[in-house]
Symmetry: C2
Subunit: 392 residues, 2 copies
């Protein structure tokens, strides 16, 4: 037995300790924590069978007291006392979807993104709807198509109505896009009729993942009135394999950029959950954007308070995502439709002019934030490659 070797400056130092589900070669999926380039098998390390499960859900359901306790135990053990059987090299394991997704809600919390999309989808009209600064607008997505990073995305087919066409046609999406987001994982739910107040956020939400909300813009533009996006989004949503606990993000908390008019009392925050997380979007290996999460208008605590304000219960495994993270600068936009202004201003990727995704393209979104030790902690990455549509 010995302490773990962690390189100085590692994004997975002891101030991070993200949770995931892995399987060692030939083994069954189980819960692990990443430390440096190691994965700790928690069922072996701590002797707690809750971790010998193919999803984080049973552990999440234990509640914040247990989340704190496990973090403390792992911190203590990692520095001095790790049996060999509890350690795997991260390169030797397979990573899985870290939790069973109960309900999935996607918000629309970036003012820059909502303004850009409003201009692109409804040219000539006021870009922000009248409700936008009063409530975090959101909608339910498809929980069953949330997949882990590394899962290929087959180009979706669907109906689209091109400008000038007399009737819609069916075929592969020609405007396949990404949305770079942060997702929040509910650890402990709430009974029906009992809203989760903004100040109770950290008692219910366990942690955060990177999200790529793949979007077929041509399908979406045709279908989304009046009941919102559906098939344009429901084919796949990718998440990173490591869930970074809120407990690791205290040093990343920042005030929101400002809310005017002030939101209604049920959305007031005394200490804000703005987060200084920086995302990086790489398209075929070339960085094309750095969306700053600190620019988001609505905080995740406000999102959850709103989500439950009508008495809807939350459940262990609920995932709610921020919506596309876009900052004020062109190279801070988290979706290609914004970055290329609806496809009219191509960007150069590996020497080629590009607008939307082509078959074979790979997108990697990574993220990092200030950690408690003075350096930066990493979210890892969410990666996906586009495969050709299936012939019909």
């Amino acid at each position: 037995m010995t302490g773990l070797d962690v390189a100085p400056g590692s994004p997975f130092g002891l101030d991070n300790l993200p949770f995931g589900v892995f399987s060692p070669a030939g083994g069954a999926p189980r819960v692990g924590i990443r430390v440096g380039d190691h994965v700790l098998d928690l069922a072996v390390l701590l002797g707690d069978p809750t971790f010998a499960a193919p999803a984080l859900n049973p552990f999440l359901a234990r509640g914040r007291g247990r989340w704190v306790e496990v973090r403390e135990e792992v911190t203590a053990r990692a520095t001095e006392d790790v049996p060999d059987g509890a350690v795997h090299a991260v390169g030797d394991v397979t990573l899985h979807l870290p939790f069973e997704v109960a309900d999935y809600v996607d918000f629309y919390a970036s003012e820059h993104h909502a303004t850009n999309l409003g201009r692109l989808f409804r040219p000539g009209a006021e870009p922000l709807m009248p409700n936008w600064k009063h409530l975090p607008v959101g909608y339910h997505g498809r929980a069953g198509t949330v997949v882990v990073s590394g899962t290929d995305v087959v180009r979706p087919c669907g109906q689209r109505m091109a400008p000038g066409d007399a009737a819609p046609t069916f075929g592969p999406s020609a405007r396949l896009d990404i949305e770079a987001e942060l997702g929040f994982v509910v650890g402990t739910g709430s009974p029906p009729g009992t809203p989760i107040a903004v100040e109770k956020f950290a008692e219910h939400v366990f942690g955060t993942v990177l999200v790529n909300d793949w979007s077929a813009r041509d399908l979406q533009a045709w279908e989304y009135v009046p009941l919102g996006p559906h098939l344009g989004k429901s084919f796949a949503t990718s998440v990173s394999p490591w869930v970074v606990p809120l407990l690791a993000l205290e040093a990343a908390r920042v005030p929101l950029p400002g809310q005017e008019p002030p939101p209604l009392p049920y959305l007031h925050e005394t200490r804000s959950w703005g987060l200084d997380v920086e995302l990086v979007v790489e398209w075929n290996g070339e960085e094309v954007s750095r969306p700053p999460y600190r620019e988001m208008y609505w905080s995740p605590a406000q999102m959850l308070a709103h989500l439950t304000s009508n008495g809807a219960c939350a459940r262990t495994g609920d995932l709610f995502a921020s919506g596309t993270v876009s900052g004020p600068g062109k190279h801070q936009r988290g979706a290609f439709i914004e970055l290329t202004w609806g496809g009219r201003e191509p960007v150069t990727v590996q020497g080629e002019e590009r607008t939307f995704l082509q078959d074979g393209d790979t997108v990697v979104i990574s993220g990092s934030a200030p950690g408690a030790a003075g350096g930066r902690i990493g979210f890892g990455q969410v990666e996906g490659s586009i495969r050709a549509a299936r012939p019909r």
Copy 2:
């Protein structure tokens, strides 16, 4: 041992055989079939442990071959050979949510309803959006707040912006409504990237339930642009406890009323899944509406084909509902906002003029359809009562 006693003309005759989850006094929840006023305990009757489960999902996942087989076995056994320990009186058992809901999608498949709502929500504009006759418009709802008939509904609070108000306010919904719908329960899912063709509908969908999609119209009207309904719907969706198998609905199949323009090829049906199900809506014990399901524009087979046309997988336990069932006549409207034309034309209920739901109100939606034996089979009912909003 003896055959079961079933009254002639019972809506739960041997041509129905709906499945549910019940618990006998002091016992654990398990799967049963309703015959007349009896509930058959299938784990006891058939010796199959799949039925000693608190949800239909394990049985649903077995697939259509097993659904047919169990129906045949139960039909044979019910007439001649039922051990006493396998029979309960329906009045002696507690009924539960019959299946674990995976994803929940709500469609908008009635032309009469969509036209009425378009006129009410967007006065002066074309009531049907340009996409409406080309695809079954739908959106994802909240799976975690689907509840079984008999569950009280607490009046939701939320943001609303009354006409003439300068800013939104937060408080109990003043326009609480119902939506009378049919829901379809997916038995066997589909892998990612593999759409379910319209002609494969009955291989994947096990059966149908009655649905009351409770709706807070004031919350919905303020929040729904541009991403669709969210908090105005997500507080509760009630379903009936008995899942009527598609196998019981062959005599109820009718052609659709007509689709013009003809839908794109992926939505073509050779033999339609229009259904002659008649719903009855009772408000505090008084019948106020008889929505005819046979008037629906889109069939459930078209809904599922559309839902998966982009490659989204379906899962055992997925629920998709039709949207409000409304016919052309005023007394065929399945939502109070239509029945009272936005609250401007009250209806008389038990001698009182009424528009939207008041605390203490009870709504019962029942349904029936032609059965194979020449009479009518029953869907039972979905019932709910309104409790006052919780003080904040």
